[in-house]
């Protein structure tokens, strides 16, 4: 949305509430930084452009969006990331659904227990944004696709609802919209009956230049700080630094799909 554009004139900022003020200023400063980078060193510019890319620029393969989940920090019983996702993307929380088995869930909390040691782990599970996505391989129409920046999406204009991708996904990350949504969709997040959907890494936020996702924001707000989102191709990004520092694993690494979501503490 234009309103989120950091380069916009000041009237908007003056009208808005205090929080908006500070938030937008932060964005504005970010944009200024990018502009500075552009002026000083072309090398820096490349990276900066990738993060807060201008509206008319296509997503670039110089970036690979990814997420780090620190399962040791993920709160037992905490569901904030899930709630945030459903709020941001407009899907009904499963608890409120009349048909829980048919209700879409873009992200879910998974509770694990080792039957031998009784050790318990819990973590959020969602689309892993595979670099070699099986869902994309099997999709007959090419509706499932991987964007240049590594985000795996469903093009709802060409999805025929065959559910082959749901059969193929090893992470049970996808849902079919089983019933009419009756205009409850968010303007930024079109979704509809008969099409398959899954986590989009909040692509609308990424394109807007937020550089983060709703679940990460919520996790940080809750104080757990278990999630980090960022560009895995940028060696200086927070996520890249963390990935260098702490041991992480890919879920079902045996499938060798090169996942965009990495877990610590599993």
């Amino acid at each position: 949305m234009s309103e989120m554009n950091p380069n916009q004139g000041s009237p908007a900022r003056q009208q808005a509430a205090q929080t908006v003020e500070s938030l937008q200023r932060r964005r504005f400063i970010g944009a200024a930084g990018a502009a500075a980078g552009l002026a000083i060193a072309p090398g820096v510019m490349l990276i900066e452009v990738a993060h807060g890319r201008p509206e008319e620029q296509a997503a670039s393969s110089a970036v690979r969006w990814g997420m780090l989940v620190d399962a040791t920090k993920c709160g037992t019983g905490c569901n904030d990331c899930v709630t945030a996702c459903s709020t941001e993307n407009g899907w009904t929380p499963v608890a409120e659904s009349a048909h829980p088995k048919q209700a879409p869930q873009w992200i879910r909390k998974l509770e694990l227990q080792d039957p031998l040691t009784q050790m318990e782990t819990n973590l959020p599970m969602m689309c892993q944004h595979c670099a070699e996505p099986p869902c994309v391989d099997v999709c007959p129409t090419g509706a499932s696709f991987k964007r240049a920046d590594g985000i795996v999406l469903v093009n709802r204009h060409t999805c025929i609802g065959c559910r082959y991708c749901m059969m193929a996904c090893p992470y049970k990350a996808r849902s079919l919209v089983h019933e009419q949504l009756n205009d409850t969709q968010k303007p930024d997040v079109p979704r509809g009956i008969g099409c398959v959907e899954s986590c989009t890494f909040c692509v609308q936020k990424v394109d807007r230049g937020d550089g983060t996702t709703a679940c990460v924001e919520a996790c940080t707000a809750s104080g757990h700080n278990a999630l980090v989102f960022g560009d895995m191709n940028d060696p200086e990004s927070e996520i890249s630094r963390k990935l260098r520092e702490i041991p992480t694993k890919q879920v079902r690494a045996d499938l060798n799909l090169n996942l965009g979501v990495r877990y610590h503490g599993i």
Partner: protein, 400 residues
């Protein structure tokens, strides 16, 4: 070689129209079911985000597999040059087309966006097995259609063998493609093996022949034409070979799986702990679908036509149940994201998924069967597909 006269079925009797109307009624029910599912969405079906392919797929895949198998008889005639099978070939070809049509209709009408068929026909992803199947299916219609034409039209008769061979090779590819729909899924433990392709081929032989035999016998008895025991007995032993081969493949498949520790749990699920799926596997697929038919066909019972029919019906039933176990059973077993750990979530991770087919799903599937039979019923009326007589004397003349 004596020539055979083919003649249309008269199709004016009350019985014919009753059959026609009855099948039409089921087609209508199928259409209504589709309309209902399409209007409300898949929420009115038993399918959900765990069992994503349900009863319609069981019917669709069965019909498609049987379609390719139904072509068998024609292939034996043209490709393997067995004169006795020649008069049986046209029915075999039309049945193949009809079953394929029924199966594809069910498959397509079960799509979440069945109104977007045109998208499926214009957007292709060539890495998808589904896309390849779209081409395999269209090619099948074309080739079998041409083959049928060469059999019906004297002027192009000389091309019959070439067309038959092409159709034969094509349908082997096609069933490989259908089996690979599942074989190419790495995510599910029970799929993801090349074994599924040859297994589907051999299954298609058995199911297709069973359907063919029943249709043939029904057509001849209802029209009062003579169908001798030579034909029936020949096909009886062919069926024995196919069903035995299916049994062999199923046993090998599960034995191989049992050798891999990582597949123990899912094998135990199908073979021992899977509740309804275990029951359907042992009593449906194995006992009713293979063992009993083999016993019937190999003992003296197989000399009586009604027992052959019972055996065929059992093979068909076993085939549908096999699809049920293969397609739904494999989905009922939860995906193992973290091998060795217990999993729990709001998304039904770590629990065996239950599935209760709904009425519209059932009628959509039956609608596909009805379409196949309706097409066949109509075709034998308007085309010269059935020999006037297949009594022993006529058939005997062919062999010399």
């Amino acid at each position: 070689m004596a020539s055979i006269t083919f003649r249309e079925v008269e199709g004016s009797s009350l019985k014919y129209w009753l059959l026609f109307g009855g099948l039409g009624l089921f087609v209508l029910f199928g259409a209504l079911s589709w309309n209902y599912m399409h209007h409300y969405g898949h929420v009115v079906t038993g399918m959900d985000n765990q069992i994503v392919w349900g009863l319609p797929h069981v019917f669709a895949v069965f019909l498609i597999v049987a379609a390719s198998g139904a072509l068998n008889v024609a292939s034996i005639a043209s490709v393997f040059n067995k004169p006795m099978y020649k008069p049986l070939a046209p029915l075999s070809a039309i049945l193949a087309i009809a079953l394929m049509l029924g199966g594809l209709l069910v498959l397509v009408l079960d799509l979440g966006r069945s109104d977007r068929l045109i998208v499926a026909m214009t957007h292709f992803n060539f890495k998808s097995m589904f896309t390849w199947n779209v081409f395999l299916y269209s090619g099948f219609f074309a080739l079998v259609g041409i083959y049928l034409w060469t059999m019906l039209d004297r002027t192009v008769k000389s091309y019959s063998k070439a067309a038959g061979t092409a159709a034969f090779i094509w349908r082997l590819l096609l069933t490989t493609g259908t089996g690979s729909l599942f074989g190419f899924l790495i995510a599910r433990e029970l799929y993801g093996t090349a074994m599924l392709a040859p297994m589907f081929i051999i299954m298609s032989f058995a199911y297709g022949l069973a359907v063919y035999l029943m249709v043939l016998a029904a057509a001849y008895s209802w029209t009062g034409r003579a169908l001798g025991d030579t034909v029936m007995q020949r096909l009886r032993y062919l069926l024995v070979i196919f069903v035995a081969a299916v049994l062999y493949f199923v046993v090998t498949y599960h034995m191989t799986n049992l050798y891999f520790t990582k597949l123990h749990a899912v094998e135990a699920f199908i073979l021992r702990d899977g509740g309804i799926f275990t029951t359907l596997f042992w009593f449906g697929q194995i006992l009713a679908g293979c063992v009993i038919p083999l016993v019937i066909l190999l003992t003296g019972l197989g000399r009586q036509r009604s027992w052959i029919m019972i055996a065929c019906a059992l093979v068909i039933l076993g085939g549908i149940l096999q699809m049920y176990v293969t397609i739904i059973g494999a989905q009922a077993y939860p995906l193992d994201l973290f091998p060795g750990l217990n999993e729990k979530s709001s998304f039904f991770d770590g629990v065996v998924h239950s599935y209760m087919p709904s009425v519209p799903e059932l009628f959509l599937g039956l609608g596909g069967v009805a379409v196949a039979l309706l097409v066949t019923t109509f075709a034998v009326k308007v085309l010269r597909l059935l020999p006037e007589s297949l009594d022993d004397a006529t058939v005997a003349k062919l062999e010399h």
